[in-house]
Symmetry: C2
């Protein structure tokens, strides 16, 4: 079983690279083959494949084989948990006291 904590490690780890974030940005506009994804980047196709594996392991990208090519699709569900984690700290950058109170209330235990 992959715990929520391990999942967050993988999600944030996958996002800690500009090329991987850009791949997600491309996939947000629609599915793409590995070749199509590699085109805008100044990196080799094997390097893109490696990034895609990290994104797949984090559950952010799904790959499906179609004959000889594999098509990649964005799977943003994993981002939800990451967003929720970061969101808990909103009070600390927005200075909103109501959000801060909610944070303290939730973590009092």
């Amino acid at each position: 079983m992959v715990t929520s904590s391990r999942r967050l490690d993988r999600t944030f780890g996958a996002l800690a690279d500009a090329t991987r974030r850009a791949i997600l940005g491309q996939l947000a506009h629609g599915d793409a083959t590995v070749g199509e994804l590699a085109r805008p980047f100044r990196v080799s196709r094997p390097a893109i494949s490696k990034h895609l594996r990290v994104l797949e392991q984090a559950g952010l990208v799904r790959r499906a084989r179609e004959g000889r090519v594999s098509r990649c699709a964005l799977d943003a569900a994993a981002l939800r948990e990451a967003a929720e984690w970061v969101e808990r700290y909103r009070a600390f950058w927005s200075g909103r006291l109501d959000a801060l109170a909610r944070y303290v209330e939730r973590t009092r235990s």
Copy 2:
């Protein structure tokens, strides 16, 4: 100059570890010394110091020397940019078409 992209690499990289996220959680309740931060974790003090360095480099923790001890404080400003990045994908997990339209509009160029 540290670009926004490099900053995001560092922020997400710093968040990709459960101990570091827990340290931020502790600091959200108030400043703490390195010793106080190390207490709840089953890791050595040098290991905590290493995690703190990663958090400092990402701008998420500030350390100030007070005599012989150094006090750590949360600096959540860097999380804002990370939250904004993740938030752009909300449409893809919430299924909200208005958010999707905003995403497409913003990235059309």
